[in-house]
């Protein structure tokens, strides 16, 4: 569709992304270069204060913690999601299993996080289980620390990873694994040398689906984390709601957006198709 009509067709989409995507980013961009209003909002006056505030130890620390949580939970999620999706793709009657993967999408995230509080808390399921199994010490607080944040992220983004991986592995020709085995590869060797390279696209998608939302996570560290595991999302909320520093909140948001954009660029880089040569027919 090269003609004028083509432009018409894409108009609604362009309008939609303008209103909900581009304009907010522009607002955030502009706000980050303005001065802070006393009771929130901005004063229309050019200022680099927000950005200079980014060059502080505390912001650096929060960024580092955020990155660490995102990287760690993405890796852990991938390690769980890969074998699960492989199993799903190789199971013939997998409708029920797939449903189990999708069902969490129907339950509000906050409810699911509260469920984790019920599991990990001092009076929670895990402590009861330990007592039942013979543990006689003080109840342990598994909540409100770095690892609780990581675990709940792993839990939350697991289905987001499983689905793209599953749809990719499902298209994979498992006969290739037999060919690799036949040529001398071990079971693990055939998976690593033949399956992984062929499902690369799915892996990169899965990583993005977990990594980008985790980078911007707010509710999870707020509910199950401690001050040591605060993430950039919490800093943004704090600066909007408590410190009344909208320009700083905007600057942090910009940084987050840039990191996500970087991730997507890496995605396109890794998924780029090599230039196709013409197929030459020969006997």
């Amino acid at each position: 569709m090269k003609g004028r009509a083509g432009v018409l067709y894409t108009l609604p989409l362009m309008l939609w992304s303008c209103i909900f995507f581009i304009i907010p980013i522009i607002i955030v961009f502009i706000y980050s270069f303005l001065a802070k209003g006393l009771y929130g909002g901005v004063v229309w006056q050019f200022s680099l204060k927000a950005f200079s505030a980014l060059f502080s130890w505390s912001f650096f620390r929060v960024s580092l913690v955020t990155l660490l949580i995102a990287v760690l939970s993405t890796i852990l999620t991938l390690l769980i999601a890969l074998p699960v999706s492989y199993y799903l793709a190789r199971t013939k009657n997998n409708t029920l299993l797939l449903a189990l993967v999708v069902i969490p999408f129907w339950v509000n995230l906050l409810l699911r996080v509260y469920a984790w509080i019920a599991i990990l808390g001092r009076e929670g399921f895990l402590n009861h289980l330990m007592t039942f199994l013979g543990y006689r010490g003080e109840p342990v607080q598994f909540l409100f620390n770095f690892w609780a944040v990581v675990i709940v992220h792993v839990y939350t983004y697991l289905p987001y990873m499983i689905l793209p991986l599953y749809s990719n592995i499902e298209k994979f020709d498992f006969g290739l694994l037999e060919a690799a085995r036949d040529l001398g590869a071990t079971h693990m060797g055939s998976l690593v040398r033949v399956m992984l390279p062929n499902i690369k696209g799915g892996i990169v998608t899965a990583i993005l689906f977990a990594f980008i939302p985790t980078m911007g996570s707010y509710a999870i560290p707020d509910l199950v984390g401690s001050t040591n595991s605060h993430m950039l999302g919490n800093s943004i909320a704090y600066n909007i709601r408590t410190a009344n520093n909208w320009p700083l909140a905007s600057a942090i948001s910009l940084v987050l957006t840039l990191i996500s954009a970087l991730g997507i660029m890496i995605y396109f880089f890794l998924n780029r198709k090599p230039a196709r040569h013409k197929v030459r027919e020969a006997p």
Binding site: D173, G175, L176, E178, A179, A180, R181, D182, L183, G184, A185, T186, H187, G189, R193, V194, P197, N198, K200, P274, R276, H277, K278, V279, R280, E281, A282, P283
Partner: protein, 372 residues
């Protein structure tokens, strides 16, 4: 000989309550080009997968040079497979596909380089090293797969209908190449196909299978000329199957009162049939001569049947005729006539013509006795 002797001993395979293989036994010699021939669904792939190690036999043994290989995983068996759908690794170039088995063994890159070039040359694919499988034609893909399967110098090469996805001309040339490669490297080839002309043209021996059972093992000549049972007689080549009761026996020559046709003479050397027995016997269409006039000077052990053609198909090098014998208009016999010389006025016999069919008793063949 660099190949292995492969023995399959009373192998059975059950898939739930379906039995795909029934007591299959084969003894394949070192360096032999051995074909497994049978209609689709008869269990050929299953048998090959058991030999390769992708399936376990439900019962029985598979041994290579007298070593039982059933407990070994596929990567520990010194045999490689060429798959029907090529199974090339799409993410690797032609070079890396062929190098794959050597790279697994962490072979020296220099060695890999020379070996890959050697095996690519063997399958006439030099110059295509950097292409991806997606850029190759079907025939080229299968050549890559053959080079990849041979580079680790296996003792046995298993081929599962490697040519069936290719067009006829290409099949022929690749088959000749396979034959040549087999002669050059001398390992055992086990070649699975449902195409009898492939099996007969290149094999040292052929096993004919149907419904999970090996019906006959023999040289292409034996399979064609001395089929062991009605299935083989029908499945290999074209045939006229006849039934009748033996009237008399004179040395090796039997006179059979054939249903609908009357007395026919058939020679049989291999077995001792008795008068009064009911037997199945055959005459190949190309062994019957068809003439418009009654042939003269026939020896006493000739058969002569007058009849009428009801269909004739001219196909260049030969014509096929379908004939109702005069003795029984309901029967039909197939007759093939080679055109050995130029037909000036076109095919001399057409449909609906009076003809004479004749053949020597030696050309008939008694397949088996039919229980009465």
């Amino acid at each position: 000989m660099k190949g292995s002797r492969v023995r399959v001993e009373v192998v059975a395979k059950w898939f739930d309550d379906f039995q795909a293989l029934k007591d299959v036994s084969l003894d394949i010699k070192k360096g032999e080009f051995f074909s497994i021939l049978g209609p689709s669904g008869c269990g050929k792939t299953t048998l090959l997968r058991i030999i390769a190690g992708f399936e376990d036999p439900s019962a029985g043994l598979v041994s290579l040079d007298d070593q039982n290989v059933v407990p070994l995983p596929p990567n520990k068996r010194p045999l490689n497979t060429v798959f029907q759908n090529y199974a090339l690794f799409p993410h690797l170039t032609v070079f890396d596909n062929v190098a794959f088995p050597l790279q697994l063994r962490r072979e020296n890159p220099k060695v890999i380089e020379t070996q890959v070039r050697k095996y690519l040359a063997m399958v006439h694919l030099n110059g295509h090293e950097e292409k991806k499988p997606g850029q190759l034609s079907g025939g080229m893909k299968q050549r890559v797969a053959i080079a990849r399967a041979l580079i680790s110098e296996p003792k046995v090469l298993l081929l599962d209908e490697p040519l069936s996805a290719l067009d006829a001309k290409l099949r022929q040339s690749l088959l000749m190449d396979l034959d040549f490669i087999h002669d050059a490297i001398g390992i055992t080839f086990i070649y699975v196909t449902h195409d009898q002309s492939e099996a007969l043209s290149v094999s040292d021996r052929v096993a004919v299978m149907n419904e999970g059972v090996v019906l006959q093992v023999g040289t292409p000549y034996q399979i064609y000329e001395q089929p062991a049972n009605p299935f083989v007689a029908r499945f290999i080549g074209e045939n006229n199957l006849l039934e009748g009761v033996i009237l008399s026996k004179n040395g090796f020559c039997y006179t059979i009162d054939t249903d609908g046709l009357g007395a026919l003479k058939v020679t049989s050397e291999s077995r001792l049939w008795e008068p009064g027995q009911r037997v199945l016997h055959t005459i190949r269409p190309e062994k019957i001569s068809i003439t418009k006039t009654k042939p003269g000077g026939l020896s006493k052990d000739y058969n002569l049947l007058p009849g009428r053609t009801f269909e004739s198909i001219y196909s260049g090098f030969q014509s096929k005729f379908f004939v109702h014998p005069e003795a029984n208009e309901k029967m039909q016999l197939k007759v093939f006539k080679q055109h050995e010389s130029f037909l000036e006025r076109g095919p001399d016999i057409s449909w609906d013509e009076e003809v004479f069919l004749s053949w020597d008793a030696d050309d008939g063949y008694i397949v088996e006795a039919i229980p009465q």
